[in-house]
């Protein structure tokens, strides 16, 4: 069995691209520690003979014809953009 529950909230927050205050980090460390301790009960279950289920319904590989159809206009797609110009999203600088 793999070792569990050495959760490091500050590290996981970096992975999640989510800044947390020191107070939040400490609080979540305690609260999620409790949740993970509770989740440890799953280790009692014998799952050696079970295949994992991604979801409850056996649907796989749903395809449609690759045909153009009417959808949002560029203007509609940009209508909620925090910043935009010339029909483009303006984003924070990505390259140096």
């Amino acid at each position: 069995m793999i070792k569990t529950s050495d959760l490091d909230v500050a590290y996981v927050a970096k992975l999640a691209r989510l800044n947390l205050s020191d107070a939040e980090t400490q609080l979540f460390q305690k609260q999620l520690g409790d949740v993970l301790k509770y989740a440890d009960k799953l280790r009692e279950v014998d799952v050696s003979h079970v295949e994992a289920a991604a979801h409850a319904v056996p649907i796989f590989n749903v395809f449609r014809e690759d045909q153009p159809r009417d959808w949002l206009t560029a203007e509609q797609a940009l209508s909620n953009a925090p910043r935009q110009a010339n029909g483009l999203f303006i984003v924070t600088k990505v390259v140096e």
Binding site: A16, V35, L42
Partner: protein, 492 residues
């Protein structure tokens, strides 16, 4: 019937009046608007209202359609073209939906008029609506208590007679649990029965849309409108949709009802226990056969649910990055600062907590111990139901082990809040259908608190659980009881 009494009507009765041209869709909207102005300052069920757009719809409504001219309240996680869709989150403050969700398009096709968006736990994460980033919604039966959640706004609006019916969504019980706590009917359809296209995703292997209504028949009417295949959604089931009202009115002779001992959990409120026992006896007297069954993996459902749901949520909520829509942090110094602060400022505490948990259980080294193991136990839970449904047509239980709890009572202890989903989340994990309907009251500090009866059916057996629920409902008076604030109608 005076205008003041109209908001008390259920959808079926309102539609009959509309159909007979005894009232017009515009008059209905005006009366509803006045009712909301009267009581929503107290209940706080709505986040936004658009009566101007609704009036345009009402002016051309075809009242001969099944839901013709009927205004419907919509949880603020479902996109309605031109209206806000905030998921009660700061990160979507100011967002306006550019298109209709499939369920909205289908409601419109059936003649219904979406007019307002209801409060919810932020991104549907919660069981009390207290995680809303906007405001608290109050339980119409006792204003010091929660309406349940996450679809608490829709449930409270229906219970307070400030909506004829509404749509909610659920991932682990977010329709059935607020239905139970607010004393209304709520249906969680089979996974894949109702399209989620245009519904903001929380946990994609679990999410479903369903009705919250005053009666079982109203839920059947809404199901008739919203169920069915959607080529725009890959998990949508391509199965025929029956007329869900067709089986209503049959009695329970020949129906086998399963009672699982694992669903009378430790800590069940004694008043809930006795209401459910009485309901079981009553169903038996209506001809239902009661059979003991076992769902041995029930105790693991919450752990499985919170691992899978948070894992999926952490992936789904990655799209809120401040690039294409929603909140963006001011003057980011680089891209990491842009992401980190945008999400810090935009998300509330419960959403952050779940993103952290979900990211952790998916992270390298822990995936097998948590996520993969949870998926396997999920399969065992699904197998429990499959075995039970070999012996019975439906399972019967409380919807929630306790009636509505006090505002603030559980907010400091996330694990306690998570345990509120213990009797509802197994059905989401198994992808089956369920319904909650009123079956009695608990007394607490002079207030009457509704108790919900849950019926679970196998996949695509909505017609059956609606039939059973209807037989029970029509032979009892629980659905006629009105919340105190609904009782103020016509007295003003």
């Amino acid at each position: 019937m005076t205008g003041k009494d109209l908001p008390a009507l259920n959808i079926a009765d309102l539609q009959a009046l509309l159909c007979r041209r005894e009232v017009s869709p515009l008059e209905v909207l005006d009366i509803l608007r006045a009712r909301i102005e009267d009581v929503d300052g107290t209940i706080d069920a709505y986040l936004s209202l658009d009566f101007e757009a609704a009036a345009k719809e009402a002016a051309k409504a075809n009242v001969d359609l099944p839901l013709g001219g009927v205004p419907v309240a919509i949880k603020d996680i479902i996109n309605i073209a031109g209206q806000p869709c905030t998921c009660a989150s700061r990160i979507l403050h100011g967002y306006r939906a550019p298109y209709d969700a499939t369920v909205i398009r289908k409601l419109r096709t059936a003649g219904a008029i979406p007019f307002g968006k209801t409060n919810m736990d932020e991104f549907a994460m919660g069981s009390s609506t207290e995680n809303s980033g906007v405001k608290l919604t109050r339980n119409p039966w006792d204003l010091s208590r929660v309406p349940g959640g996450s679809s608490g706004g829709s449930a409270a609006a229906v219970a307070a007679d400030e909506a004829f019916g509404g749509l909610g969504t659920e991932t682990g019980g977010s329709i059935r649990q607020p239905a139970a706590l607010s004393g209304v009917v709520g249906v969680k359809p089979t996974y894949g029965r109702v399209s989620r296209f245009g519904v903001v995703a929380f946990a994609s292997s679990l999410d479903q849309v369903g009705p919250l209504t005053k009666t079982v028949r109203d839920s059947a009417l809404i199901m008739n409108a919203i169920a069915g295949h959607d080529p725009q959604e890959t998990t949508s089931l391509n199965e025929p949709v029956p007329d869900y009202t067709a089986a209503l009115g049959r009695d329970l002779r020949g129906i086998r009802l399963g009672l699982a001992k694992e669903y009378m959990i430790e800590g069940t409120d004694p008043q809930v226990k006795s209401a459910i026992n009485a309901a079981v006896k009553h169903m038996n007297s209506l001809g239902g056969e009661i059979i003991d069954v076992s769902l041995p993996h029930t105790d693991y459902a919450i752990a499985v649910y919170y691992i899978l749901a948070t894992a999926e949520a952490s992936a789904n909520l990655a799209r809120f990055d401040g690039v294409r829509y929603g909140h963006r942090a001011e003057n980011p110094k680089d891209l990491l600062d842009h992401y980190g602060r945008t999400r810090e400022e935009g998300f509330g505490p419960e959403v952050k907590r779940r993103i952290i948990l979900g990211t952790y259980v998916l992270s390298s080294g822990y995936y097998d111990a948590y996520y993969l193991r949870a998926q396997k136990v999920r399969e065992l839970i699904r197998h429990d139901f499959a075995k039970a449904f070999e012996k019975v047509d439906a399972l019967i239980s409380p919807t929630s082990p306790v009636p509505a709890f006090k505002l603030g009572e559980r907010t400091d202890d996330p694990l306690q809040m998570y345990l509120a989903d213990i009797l509802t989340s197994p059905a989401n994990l198994a992808g089956i259908c369920g319904i909650s309907l009123p079956c009695g009251f608990a007394k607490a500090d002079k207030h009457q608190l509704p108790i919900g009866l849950q019926l679970l059916g196998k996949a695509l057996d909505e017609a059956r659980i609606l039939q059973i629920a209807h037989a029970y409902e029509q032979s009892t008076d629980w659905h006629k009881a009105r919340s105190p604030i609904a009782g103020t109608l016509g007295n003003a």
